[in-house]
């Protein structure tokens, strides 16, 4: 009987993953090349952000945390309070014409080396 239920669970599981596909790839800017679908991009904010996330869009540049490849990002939606130049952030979206266009509201910051919940999504 247990074997039957284990099989059932596995079946549900496989069904889901086959329909929904695997997860969302988590990439650094240097890995973006060749990925055209929705991905999760993680990097460090460099330069000065400009624009308005609640209007036309916030523009900033993400660079590899340990590297030099940088990519411009366009983001709309809630901006976490901890967001600033030099912070490590994660954002979901797609690369379009050399600009990473973010899915609204998916920008999240990592709290620097302290045990603290800090999120906005």
């Amino acid at each position: 009987m247990i074997a039957l239920s284990v099989a059932a669970v596995l079946a549900i599981f496989l069904l889901y993953t086959s329909i929904a596909g695997g997860g969302t790839p988590s990439l650094r800017p240097s890995q973006l090349d060749g990925h055209s679908g929705k991905v999760s991009l993680a990097g460090k904010v460099v330069g000065r952000p400009s624009g308005d996330a609640h209007a036309a869009g916030l523009h900033f540049v993400l660079r590899d945390v340990k590297g030099t490849t940088a990519i411009p990002v366009m983001y709309r939606g809630t901006v976490p309070d901890l967001f600033r130049t030099g912070r490590d952030v994660v954002v979901q979206g797609q690369l379009r014409n050399g600009v990473f266009v973010a899915v609204p509201g998916t920008l999240m910051t990592k709290c620097p080396s302290k045990y603290a919940p800090a999120k906005n999504s």
Partner: protein, 662 residues
């Protein structure tokens, strides 16, 4: 002073090693005095670790910045309360808290069982000793809270988001839960090592498991409330790995609590229970490993630290050793009883177990998926809300339904005719409720309607249980209704306490369903005088207010709230800018509607230079049921935990017997 701390920790380490080594020798060679000595070592280890903890507390209170830990996590301006709670605000301190709680639980478990189950305890002590040794080892050699430095003028301060009362209660509660799961694990391994085939270990640990599970549940609810009101992104659970780290062992422990009841009543599922207790304990270790090692990308993580590999090694050791032990003792765990019917209470417990474990494992898979995908495909891939929600619905909704079905079904074998009768009322109530819900438009969410309907079914069946039981009890004697009710609950504390806990879970389910699938979210940029509407409530922005506090600058958006043309309140969402820490915190404004348990939740997303505000408003129906559920949960757990003198005597008589245990 740091030397005292280090010495105390070293003493604790030596005591725990002694408990492990001497305890093993004593249990193996049946040496009574040595076994007692090993037990005492556990007691003394608690004392030593408490001294170490006290040293750190004193250093914190004194702002002794020669302690690197104190300098890293506090500052002179920090209020005393938060200075003290900074104890567990960082890696080393929280490890020390774990050790103190572990030794405390170990000492208490030893103290309460030392007269009644000597041989079982003789093998439990070394298990506790080995586990304690790991944590003490980490504290002495890898992550010491007593590292020193040249004292700077002031400390780095505590992250503003940790400066609130939740910091005082959420981590300790979680730890009392996580660490508490060590006790049933240790006794289970002790029972296997001592080759005892009886239920002594279950009887000995029943209350410990229930208490740890309750603490873990309350700790998670506190964390959710913290996220809701302090972090303020409009939700209370984000399926973050660290949140899941507490949920997984809790689900496994829930399954364990149910399946041991079957072992007690029918003598079945011995192997399954062993596996479950190992799973719960390992998940709790894994949970704390996740939080500390930075191995999974999480917004909660501690630094990428060196303790990760150590933890991973220890977890592997525990998994291999405990599974190996179960395998070796498999012959002892055979039981003759079989499941008599797929329609019986035992069967519903079994289904409940399977669903809980399935949910726990799918969450685990989701958490480690990034690591696995990296290993297999070379590319890190993550899963998020849709994945977790799918499985929460697939496994959680049937679980909800089972909570209502289980109590109505008899043990061993339920007859269909009787089932029909007992099910009639709750089913009828649920169907009526379902129709009403669809009529008022709740059909906008299929999951929502199902969740609500199932919840009402469960609540009806629980109410019916209380009514039927009280009526049956009253028919026995000449007690009044309240008297019969109290007697009923008092004589069956575990069952009726359990029903109350089920009711709490139902309230939780209703609250979660309402505030997630039926919530309304609106975002607008408002200039002074501008207005927006959310779920029939009108919000008018009047302008900004600013004021200066000792350690921060506060800016608030003044928003008048109107319903039906009348102003019902003014809310002030905004931001605080902390000078010392150079950080901005989000300060949300919440209005509780006590009539329908809903919340109006306002976030000042962005304060703009032109005097306008980007306001995000959420209307969350029934969300306050979640917090109400927390209280009901505690109440039910207390009822179930309440010692029953008569039962204690009966159990004591059962195990005293011919064996001279004086």
């Amino acid at each position: 002073m740091p030397d005292l701390g280090r010495a105390a920790l070293a003493t604790a380490l030596l005591l725990l090693v002694y408990a492990a080594v001497a305890g093993t020798f004593a249990a193996h060679r049946r040496r009574r005095r040595l076994a007692a000595s090993a037990q005492n070592a556990l007691l003394a280890a608690f004392g030593a670790s408490a001294v170490a903890a006290a040293t750190l507390l004193v250093a914190l209170a004194r702002h002794d910045f020669s302690f690197r830990y104190v300098a890293d996590h506090t500052s002179r301006k920090l209020p005393l309360g938060y200075t003290l709670t900074a104890f567990w605000g960082g890696q080393e301190g929280s490890l020390l808290l774990w050790l103190v709680v572990l030794c405390g639980y170990g000492a208490a478990a030893v103290w309460t069982t030392r007269r009644v189950a000597r041989d079982l305890l003789a093998w439990t002590v070394p298990v506790l000793g080995v586990i304690g040794t790991f944590f003490a080892f980490m504290l002495v050699f890898v992550a010491s809270p007593f590292a020193t430095q040249a004292a700077p003028a002031d400390g780095a301060g505590l992250n503003p988001s940790l400066q609130n009362p939740y910091m005082a209660i959420h981590p300790p509660m979680l730890y009392l839960g996580y660490v508490g799961l060590t006790v049933p694990f240790a006794f289970a391994m002790g029972a296997l090592l001592s080759r005892r085939t009886d239920e002594r270990w279950i009887v000995a640990t029943r209350r410990w498991t229930l208490a740890a599970w309750a603490f873990l549940g309350v700790g998670q609810l506190l964390g959710a409330h913290w996220a809701y009101v302090e972090i303020g992104w409009g939700g209370y659970y984000a399926w973050d790995p660290v949140e899941n780290a507490a949920l997984m062992p809790w689900l496994a422990a829930t399954a364990f609590l149910h399946s041991v009841m079957i072992q007690e009543k029918r003598g079945m599922l011995k192997v399954w229970n062993m596996l479950l207790v190992i799973l719960a304990f390992c998940l709790s270790l894994f949970g704390t490993f996740l939080t500390r090692s930075g191995i999974i990308q999480s917004i909660h993580s501690f630094t990428q630290s060196s303790i990760g590999p150590w933890f991973l090694g220890f977890i592997c050791f525990v998994v291999c050793a405990s599974l190996g032990l179960v395998f070796l003792r498999l012959p002892l765990l055979r039981s003759k009883t079989k499941l008599e019917s797929l329609v019986s209470r035992e069967a519903t417990f079994l289904y409940n177990n399977l669903l809980l474990v399935a949910l726990s494992l799918t969450i685990l898979w989701g958490v480690v998926y990034p690591l696995v995908s990296e290993l297999v495909r070379g590319e890190t891939s993550t899963v998020s809300k849709p994945y977790y929600n799918f499985f929460l619905h697939t496994f959680g909704l049937p679980l909800l339904l089972l909570m209502g079905i289980g109590p109505l079904v008899a043990w061993r074998r339920a007859s269909f005719r009787a089932l029909g009768r007992t099910f009639l009322w709750p089913l009828a109530v649920a169907v009526v409720a379902g129709v009403i819900l669809l009529a008022v438009g709740a059909g906008s969410s299929r999951v929502g309607v199902i969740a609500y309907t199932f919840s009402i079914f469960v609540l009806a069946s629980i109410a019916l249980e209380f009514v039927r039981g009280t009526r049956a009890r009253k028919a026995l004697g000449s007690e009044s209704w309240p008297g019969a009710f109290t007697a009923l609950v008092a004589r069956n504390r575990r069952r009726y306490g359990g029903y109350v806990v089920h009711a709490a879970v139902v309230f939780l389910a209703i609250g979660v369903a309402g505030s997630s699938v039926y919530q309304t979210v609106r975002e607008h940029r408002l200039h002074p005088g501008g207005a927006m509407t959310v779920a029939g409530t009108r919000l008018v922005f009047r302008g900004f207010e600013q004021h200066r506090a000792p350690n921060h600058q506060a800016i608030r958006a003044v928003v008048d709230v109107y319903r039906g043309g009348k102003r019902i309140t003014t809310l002030l969402p905004g931001k605080n800018n902390y000078f010392a820490e150079q950080q901005v915190s989000n300060e949300v404004a919440i209005r509780h509607d006590y009539a329908d348990a809903s919340d109006l939740f306002l976030i000042a997303d962005q304060v703009n230079r032109d005097g306008s505000v980007d306001l995000k408003a959420l209307q969350k129906p029934l969300v306050n049921l979640i917090w109400f559920a927390g209280f009901v949960f505690v109440g039910g757990s207390l009822i179930a935990l309440w010692p029953d003198a008569r039962e204690e005597r009966r159990l004591a008589a059962r195990y005293a017997g011919a064996l001279a245990e004086a």
